[in-house]
Symmetry: C2
């Protein structure tokens, strides 16, 4: 039987999601917990996509196949006993055997949290990006309207990105003020390597008056990484939700 | 000149506040940062009181004496460069040379955060106590009215407590619901060793119907640690604010 799982993790102590030799990764920890639960029988998982070092997940999704007969609602309790404390299985559901956590996604939402406190909040240091500089949110929101839609996002992905097709659709960008935090929510059909972090870096430039919000269309058209802002740190980024049909 | 400092720290990686040989403590880290800032000249600090392993502080207060001539508002920037990232100086103020962070306190506020989510929130695991069981807040609030006031709190402090006088005054206890969290706020003239954690353990028993809220007066009068609830974990506890006259 195939199971779809929603998992949250604190990225602080991981070298990202994907297995790498000799490094602590989310995938390796989950596969090792599942293998223990399956009494040593190797279990491989397939996630909606990778996350980088330090990046968090509220609702990462993965699937795997099992012969264990555990009711859906018991799976979190069964697996969480074997998982390290910085990974928590939130939900499990039996799905048809052709479901695929990566290929069936219809949209993804990422959030990026900026803390605007003058002095850093010690409890948020690994969970938001401390950026105590004044931001013009009106200019940022204007830039966002230019970013939404279907574009070639070459200017907004790491230069070393290997995928050929860099056209993606951003469905919406929300800029939410919550106390001293500013939360950017990006929903799109897919995101390139470092894309969200470069989008945020560019929007921070706009908010500081370093980049004109109406220059975004020409930055997009330039298809040149050097035209956009810097890559902001991973610890402010969350894979928030992965969407599927039904 | 004497300086009064307000400092926040994430207690997760500390063996408590007070210096102990071979262990990482808050006091040792602050004194070592101050000593570096004073170019190797030893600086000793005096805090409002200790906190235990895993216990956090939002507003711990300490004082120290210095000959360095730094404007008040620059002190956080000066010292935070030398502090580890889990200790953050929030505020510094020059005070009269007879001010004492420990002896001059008029009140202290501690908060204890309970998370009632069914499955643990991975981002709060070190910052709240996961207690996913139903609680009767009306009964808890009734028990709180019995705890407030001036009492001998022998039943609510660790058996090994050495202080002779166990009479303390609790000015107020608030029970705040915030999303899936329940926050207990205790304000009093002073708290005995483990007192807040035992008070919370006892209130959780009341909330679960294991202890009658109206049995609190007899638990207090019994002056016997075995009559009260268990000591809840340190990682849900925050030294929230220390009060002084003016």
């Amino acid at each position: 039987m195939r199971i779809k799982c929603i998992v949250s993790y604190d990225g602080t102590q991981f070298h990202g999601y994907q297995i790498q030799p000799m490094k602590r990764t989310v995938q390796q920890e989950i596969e090792s917990a599942l293998t223990k639960l399956h009494k040593g029988q190797n279990v491989k998982i397939y996630a909606s996509g990778r996350t980088d070092a330090g990046v968090h997940a509220v609702g990462q999704v993965f699937h795997f196949d099992t012969k264990m007969n555990i009711p859906e609602e018991k799976w979190p309790y069964a697996l969480n006993r074997y998982l390290p404390e910085d990974i928590v299985l939130q939900e499990a559901k039996y799905v048809p055997s052709d479901f695929h956590a990566r290929y069936d996604t219809t949209a993804k939402e990422y959030r990026y949290i900026i803390s605007q406190r003058e002095i850093i909040d010690v409890f948020k240091r690994n969970y938001s990006y401390h950026f105590p500089f004044r931001l013009d949110l009106t200019a940022i929101r204007r830039a966002c309207t230019h970013l939404c839609g279907t574009h070639d996002f070459t200017s907004f992905c790491a230069a070393k990105t290997e995928v050929e097709d860099k056209v993606r659709t951003i469905y919406s960008i929300q800029v939410i003020e919550e106390g001293t935090d500013i939360i950017f929510s990006f929903k799109g059909n897919g995101f390139l390597y470092n894309m969200v972090r470069i989008l945020v870096g560019t929007l921070l430039n706009v908010g500081q008056g370093l980049t004109d919000p109406d220059s975004i269309p020409s930055i997009i058209e330039g298809r040149d990484r050097s035209l956009s802002g810097k890559t902001v740190p991973g610890h402010g980024l969350y894979l928030w939700k992965v969407y599927y049909d039904n």
